[in-house]
Amino acid sequence: MKLLQLQRKMARAVMLPLTPAENMRSKSPDGRSMRAVAAQFIKPNDRLTSFERLEIYNRQYWFRILSALAEDFPGVRAVLGERRFDAMAKAYLTDCPSTSFTLRNLGSRLPSWLPAHPKYLGPRKDLALDMARLEWAHVEAFDGKAEPVLRPEEIKGGAPAGLRLHLQPYLQLLDLHYAVDDLVIAISENEEGLSIVSNAMTERRHHAREKKAVRLRHQPIYLAVHRLQEDNTVYYRRLERAEFFLLTALRDGKSLGAASAAAVRKGPLRPEHCAKAIQTWFHNWAALGWFCTPDKHRG
């Protein structure tokens, strides 16, 4: 058997979902006996059959990736409950196996996968979707790129309305249905710090304590997920509706004039308060270091 052929065969077996009792399945998806499949390429020894030896890797694969996903989405887990989260995670990871060398990206497709699979979300569908978006934004803000902060003298002359400003790549902007920022903070305050440090085996998944999601009322919020360069801690900052649309328009590459017009239109932002509000926002954003000069734009 050629190397590639063997690796494809073993990877298929290793990535096969476990039984509810967390053992290797007896049949492959095409109905073949997994005992026969394992015996084709794995030697038994005096203590373990081929199936049992392969099962060690099958179990480790699922324990590792389920544990990694749970660590990145403790809020989704709290909202869904442990049993529903486990079912969702197994379905997601079956549909979207890792295509990255780092486990950091394991949950990258969860916010877009969940809306297409509402059966895993239960009665708190919108809350769970909001939480998934916020927790993935947190991952991105945690270690996203920070460009050099824009200095006032770098703002080129010309009409301010035509000015195009760049936002920090790590800055994430979210429009949400629920105040999940409060909820995720409450959950994180009750969890120990977690990080993947190596590929050493873990025999059992670590089960974080399950948290009950507090009852949240539907409350649209706009949020910036960002970090301060002084301490690199991720913060959540509530935004006004018009403020959110102004930032989103800037992120989309619109000029200051066009972005401000979008903010006034979607605001609501009364024209008589417009200049004062925008001035205050820009002052705050600049102080937070959100405007940057991407490397490719540096002269």
């Binding site: 058997m1 794995i42 270690d143 050493a200």
Partner: protein, 283 residues
Amino acid sequence: MPGNRFNGFTEYGVGIGLRAPHYQHILSKKPVVDWFEIISENYMIDGGRPLHILDQILDQYRVVQHGVSMYFGSAERPNREHLRRLKTLVKRTKTPWLTDHLCWGSVDGRYTHDLLPMPYTFEAARLTAQKIREVRDFVEVPVAVENVSSYAEFHVSEMTEWEFLTEVVEEADCGILLDVNNIYVSSQNHSFDPFDYLNNVPAQRVAQIHIAGHSKYRKYILDTHDHPVIDPVWKLYEHAIRLAGPTATLLEWDDSIPSFKEVHDEALKANRFLRESALSKAV
């Protein structure tokens, strides 16, 4: 060897893995540590706190990079994005040598995030050596490959694990990160004499040694890195040092991580064997 071309002719002593629960202790207390090993993938990112911490560590300590997902033994070509990020990190850390595992873990662009065992075939050895050379040429630092713990063997294997390791490192002309705990774990799982393993690998290629703890189950042993090093592994370590000379040694402790002091004290037990080896060479 005290210093050789596979570890950049360095003479590092006993190090420990840099782990997040110890960040605060290290940065505030500044303990004396010969060197730290980092998991490369944890720092192959664009920014944020991990890199900020790493830069502070680099200001005061020697750091060596250890990877977990290059998968030298995977039949597919190296991932270009992985290589690019790895090289960026190498420039940041100035690691004198770079290590990753003699295993596979990805196929057709899908990653298992596990260290899967190699079939010990000549085809696999040739392809693996080719990939090691390609990575080394790209990152431009010496590369050493680590033997992994394994729980399965393949019908297609044509040689022993130590013969395979030797075949690969000779073909790739690279170093060995000799993990004596992994040798012990695999020897128990596959019923071979671990001293046969040690006696048959090219000692002159050993760039670094790993020690660690593991977990014993009824029918097999798992490489869990969550316990102190057991006596049989220390005996293997002693023998490895006798063969390879005083070599840069690293204790891995990745789960149920105790205090910094406990981890460091466990690692420093290696000094006894390193001193004895140095003395015997001096006599």
